[in-house]
Symmetry: D5
Subunit: 114 residues, 10 copies
């Protein structure tokens, strides 16, 4: 996978919230081989380091031709980004375009255990 770059949190003196919204996410359905489209939102409270935006874009591009389920993608992005920046809190939401007349929204959250 593409490396998620980070940079030092410029305001470590206070907890605050960063949200990155990507309406251009696409992956492939592992059953049908057809593309899926989603908006992925990442909201987190940084601790010592922040996620660099350009590397986040390249990380998302890795999924373009991968076959993977909605629920698995959402949790994998949360796992990967938590591993990359060890935030105080992070929430990942994926909102998928209509398939079979149904659209889906998945939300997963991590809170750092003390």
């Amino acid at each position: 996978m593409a490396q998620i770059e980070t940079f030092p949190n410029p305001a470590p003196q206070r907890p605050y919230t960063i949200k990155h919204v990507n309406p251009e996410f696409t992956s492939v359905c592992p059953i049908t081989g057809l593309p899926d489209f989603a908006t992925i939102s990442v909201k987190y409270v940084p601790d010592a380091i922040c996620i660099e935006l350009k590397s986040l874009k390249y990380y998302y591009l890795e999924f373009r031709n991968q076959g993977i389920f909605y629920e698995a993608i959402t949790n994998k992005i949360l796992d990967d980004l938590v591993a990359a920046c060890d935030p105080l809190e992070m929430e990942v939401t994926s909102e998928w375009t209509t398939r079979g007349g149904i659209h889906s929204i998945i939300t997963a959250k991590h809170t750092r255990s003390e």
Copy 2:
């Protein structure tokens, strides 16, 4: 009724939320025999298993020519889906198009008793 298929939760390590929204639900009014139209939303926190999306679509299709009241449908969907996947929590909302100048929204929630 159509069988609701399931698959193993790919992220059992954390509670997270899945929401499936179907704006194409239709059933029949048991009094007048005329069709009703609704958007059905299911939001749940899976435990060991998740609901498979295609079977959910076929489950909804079973109501197309059934005569059943708003309040009964909403609670029946909740009962059936809870029985199918035994979630930690589940909420079903049905939003109905206008009848007699009035539109209705029904919401029912299940929380697993410990």
Copy 3:
């Protein structure tokens, strides 16, 4: 007044929420004799019985040529519907179209005392 019909709650095993929204309510201002227009929303948690939708429509029609104030209508609807179905909770909201450049929203809530 028109009789509010009821039917047995099809899911008495759990508390759940029913909301009926009527954007076609009209009554008459008791001062000017001119018509007022509102959207009336009723949201409630049924106990043993539910409100029947068609009788609710006829109940609202009774106000069409009555002179009555915003605050009084909202509370009267709440009183009448609570009397009709003895719910666990009920909230009535009326949203009025502009009069004298001002529009108004009135909200009243009943919770069954144990």
Copy 4:
């Protein structure tokens, strides 16, 4: 019927357009006796005289408890207002709220024959 008041056109030197939109029109269905609701728009190019706004409001109020069809109302308003102010052109549009799952829009136009 209420008298439609008029006043002299303050700018007879040029043709220009006046549009009055009333989202609070209501009448009664002649078949069911139930109320209908519409937005009525009147757009016209005045000649020597203009329609006074307050009398237009009272004119609309006359329909509140009358039983009359959509197509007939729209053409009657056009006939009455043309008779009242003899405009160069006039168009009346009525947009009705949903009945039986269908909503309707009726448009009728008058152009002064030379």
Copy 5:
């Protein structure tokens, strides 16, 4: 098929436009057997007779369990309604919900040949 009822045009003295919009149309895909959903709009200039609204609703209900293509439905509705009321002009538009990531709009128009 259900009979389309008509009534005499109440304003034969002028050409004017009637539009009926039905957002609750559903039929069945002849290939997959799955339901399709559409908003059907009919706009016409009546000559001697108008389409009765309630019979139009029942006419649409006949398609609920029929297998038929988008293009064919749109033209069939136009043919049937033209046959029923012989209008000066009529236009039928069908707007379909998303299938395979694509949504479709079909428009067909009839003008009476002199």
Copy 6:
């Protein structure tokens, strides 16, 4: 200032909420002498008396040619209306149109001390 009229609360048996929204408020900037425009919302829980709507309109008109700051107006309206009706709770919000590329929202709340 114009007198704020009141009337007896028609439902003193329960606390409930009344909201009056005025999108047509205007006053004058005390520095530049230029007009300011705002939407003023008053939300309150009445005790024994309610605010009469027409007198509220006339009260707002008094500000039309007064020079006064955003923060001061919002708190003055709250003070004046609390003095007029002694509510259980009241909240006043003013939302101002853009000045210098910035638009402002001020919210002040009163809760009756027991």
Copy 7:
């Protein structure tokens, strides 16, 4: 009245369109003495000179406490601005907030006679 300032058209080599939209117009009803609110739009094709924006704002402010009818204001603004800049074409539209449940839009147009 305030003087409408002008400046030389910077592109006299081609006809082009300038539109200034003012959502903060207010005047006074000559009958009731109560304020009216409108959005005034001026769209014109300049010839040798253009209207200066700040003086246009001050020109509008002159109406703040004047009693004048909708139709008269719209035509007066057109007359005044045509006199100030002698454009090839100019159109003035005023859209008024609701009075008596009705809102109005007036449009007047000037084309330079050759």
Copy 8:
């Protein structure tokens, strides 16, 4: 390229319009190698044959990993679809998501020369 399937026009007796809108189109920028996203709309008047919807979806999928410019894609789709069904008229529009702060819309039209 994927084959575009067709079927006989079910209403060859009249010209009518078919529009297919695909908000899930994606291709690759030939300069940067990064993905582009667009909504592609095809509107046409069929002659003897119509475009089959499922094969249209597969045709669009062929662009997923191709490097090609906005202007070229739009004209290529028009060329390919005209070749496939020889329509009386066809218009293709592509609306692209923001790149470098700018979003683009390209429209190309074909009319059958007699």
Copy 9:
């Protein structure tokens, strides 16, 4: 000024339309020295060459700290882009954020003289 790059029109066989919309344009008011903000739209029918998107972005950046009037910018952009690509037709529209309570839209069009 930055050089506007071009590339050969990939579809010279037909006239078609290209539109580039930039909601992030900013320049400086020559009177006050304060920044202005606009959305600039360029719509054109190319002849032999097209405007390259990245160089268009850099061209717009040149205005960031320039003092220039709305009417002059709009016509200058049209002049510069016509000079760069000699299109069959081009239209430039600038929509400016509110200043002094008024927002403005300027539209200028070029058609190649034969």
Copy 10:
């Protein structure tokens, strides 16, 4: 930096909320040198003094040609404004336009420690 002016809180008798929203903020990306655009919202509960609106506008203008990251700007504005007016609470939110297909929202909050 520009001086942030303040004035005495006109209502020190109660805590209340002031929100200033600026949709016209622009700064420069320190990596690429290209401009960034944001809406900056400041919401605070004043203690003894309030922020003067015109000086806030000039303070924001200082960032126009500065190279600085999203996270750093948001926290710097919070630090500067807290230093200027020592509020009981303050929250700063910055919402950025799309870069690389991703848009970002940063929120930082200060609460006065007792």
